[in-house]
């Protein structure tokens, strides 16, 4: 039952070309902006790497792009849940002999599957872009790390977004949420404006905002392919939001991962609470 519902949600996502496009819109915009002028802005940061400067900034932007994709595609996939509610399709599920938690979990699972597929696809495109402009393809270890991070980021995004989406009752409110997320995600992940260029207070907020750690972790892996982390100047790392510093202590990969895992567990718990409280339509 869960499997066939998951398959349904995935089919519906991919058959709705517009929803696929819109869930990738932020990614497309970021790449567009990077090609147009963002690239020039951050170029200076990579100068220390000499000939690899372009490779470095490309890797940096693409890490952010992949992190963005894990959020926006997952959100796009969760739209199915609201769509079913507004079209009253949920009534057909609820009058069939399946447990409600199975219906709910199937939305969560399919959003994860879609998020992972779309983000991996984004990663492939990113590599094509990097290689096309003279960079190198990632090594095998980095590839595994990136895939692992894509999975972790998607699960975190899904849990985080599920909590909000499960409270929505209309497609209109969902579009508003999508627009807001699509707009601010580029800022919160420090893509439109490198984190180091932002006021300290906002920097502080971004550093504790869990999704920014997805971008940070991915940047560390991808930039490491250009310049080993230990040779990366602190000011570059801080400026580009590759590593987060609190005072003089750098946030370790382990603590970033822990932040993501904790976020996932907290929002998963909250979502379970909300869904189990909502019984039959009053």
């Amino acid at each position: 039952m869960i499997l066939s519902l998951v398959r349904r949600n995935i089919k519906l996502y991919f058959r709705d070309k517009a929803s696929v496009f819109f869930s990738m819109l932020s990614v497309i915009i970021i790449i567009g902006l990077y090609v147009l002028f963002l690239g020039k802005m951050v170029q200076g940061s990579g100068d220390f790497a000499g000939e690899a400067a372009r490779f470095l900034t490309d890797s940096w932007i693409m890490a952010g792009v992949i992190a963005t994709a894990t959020v926006t595609t997952t959100l796009g996939a969760l739209g199915q849940m609201v769509d079913d509610l507004t079209k009253k399709i949920n009534r057909d599920f609820e009058t069939a002999p399946i447990d409600r938690w199975k219906i709910v979990i199937s939305y969560a699972i399919s959003s994860n599957v879609i998020g992972i597929l779309m983000s991996s696809f984004t990663f492939v495109l990113a590599e094509v872009y990097i290689v096309a402009y003279g960079g190198e393809i990632v090594g095998f270890i980095a590839l595994l790390q990136i895939l692992g991070l894509i999975i972790l980021s998607t699960i975190t995004s899904s849990a985080f977004l599920f909590f909000f989406v499960s409270m929505l009752k209309t497609m209109n409110s969902f579009s508003i949420i999508s627009t807001i997320v699509g707009t601010i995600i580029g800022f919160l992940m420090g893509i439109y404006v490198p984190i180091g260029a932002l006021p300290t207070a906002i920097q502080g907020f971004i550093k504790v905002f869990p999704p920014s750690h997805m971008a940070s972790l991915l940047r560390q892996v991808m930039v490491n392919e250009v310049v080993a982390m230990e040779y990366l100047p602190r000011e570059v790392s801080e400026m580009l939001g590759i590593q987060f510093y609190f005072g003089d202590t750098v946030t370790s990969q382990f603590s970033s991962i822990m932040i993501l895992v904790t976020t996932t567990l907290v929002f998963f718990g909250l979502s379970v609470l909300i869904v189990s409280k909502r019984k039959r339509e009053a």
């Binding site: 066939s4 089919k11 519906l12 058959r15 079209k87 399709i89 009534r91 057909d92 002999p97 019984k279």
Partner: protein, 304 residues
């Protein structure tokens, strides 16, 4: 006689508003049961409660011997519902839709394929199985909705205004299919409709208004009780006929060049016709219709 649905003293309110105020009725196995009422009468609320979608405050409902609120999972196995608004996925094909929804009922893959095949054939949509649901015409969609409701061979089929919004020809063909189903497949049909000619074909009718049952019976009983028969005559000389009627103290009303005389039963037309013999050029004896009965019961027109 076996009661497959039994509703006793059912109450349901939304906050302060009492939508259903203690209703009792039952549905016999294998019959076509029509549940009528003007908009906002509590019709949908009642159906949603019986279909396990809504909670209720008070009362007792059993479906096929199973208690509502206790054996909901088992009840869901026994009911098929055609909702007013379609609930299938536009972007999936007819067959994909049936396979996904059919997977909810715990059939193994072989039985599921068989069930899909059968549902497609019964509803006469076999050749549409690879078309996307969203690209079908209104009538084809309705057939697919019905196929979905039948996929697990339910004992009770709920049809919530199944022919609303269809053109007359399609409505007729969908209706024929419904009749075929309940006559040949032994399914009990619980129907709500806006079309009185459909309600007139039911075995039993219950009318709800303001959350209460205001009439029940067979269509013939309801027509007898709540609508009047009438005699229409076309006078050669209007004055003469009116004088004759007045002399006999008969009620009448004028509709253009016709005179309409209400009757308690159609047989009463005979002596009147004898009396008017020679003074009229044409006549017509009219039976009351379900439409009249419905208006007689609720004081409202069905289509608002």
């Amino acid at each position: 006689m076996e009661k497959i649905i039994e509703v006793k003293n059912l109450h349901k309110s939304y906050g302060e508003v009492q939508a259903v105020k203690g209703i009792d009725f039952y549905v016999e196995t294998g019959k076509l049961f029509a549940f009528l009422g003007p908009n906002g009468a509590g019709k949908s609320t009642t159906i949603n409660v019986i279909c396990t979608l809504l909670n209720y405050e008070q009362g007792e409902v059993t479906l096929d011997g199973l208690k509502l609120g206790v054996d909901d999972a088992k009840i869901r196995q026994q009911i098929g519902i055609v909702f007013q608004d379609s609930v299938l996925d536009n972007l999936l094909t007819v067959e994909e839709n049936l396979r996904i929804r059919g997977s909810f009922y715990g059939l193994d893959s072989k039985s599921l394929e068989q069930a899909i095949e059968e549902a497609l054939k019964v509803t006469d949509i076999y050749e549409l199985k690879n078309r996307r649901y969203g690209q079908l015409s209104g009538g084809q969609r309705r057939r697919t909705d019905i196929a979905r409701a039948l996929i697990h061979r339910p004992k009770i089929l709920f049809l919530d205004e199944p022919t609303t919004g269809l053109d007359p020809q399609t409505r007729k063909s969908v209706w024929n299919m419904i009749e075929h189903l309940y006559k040949n497949q032994g399914v009990t049909v619980f129907l709500t409709t806006h079309y009185m000619e459909e309600a007139a074909k039911a075995d039993y009718v219950v009318v709800i208004d303001n959350g209460q049952i205001v009439a029940k019976g067979t269509p013939i009983e309801l027509k007898d009780k709540y609508s009047t028969d009438s005699l229409q005559v076309k006078p050669i000389n209007k004055h003469e006929v009116i004088n004759l009627l007045k002399k006999e103290k008969l009620d009448y009303s004028e509709i253009s060049d016709l005179l309409v005389i209400p009757l308690n039963s159609t047989i009463e037309a005979l002596p009147i016709l004898k009396l008017l013999d020679g003074a009229i050029s044409a006549f017509q004896v009219l039976n009351g219709t379900m439409d009249d009965a419905f208006i007689g019961i609720t004081g409202k027109e069905m289509r608002e």
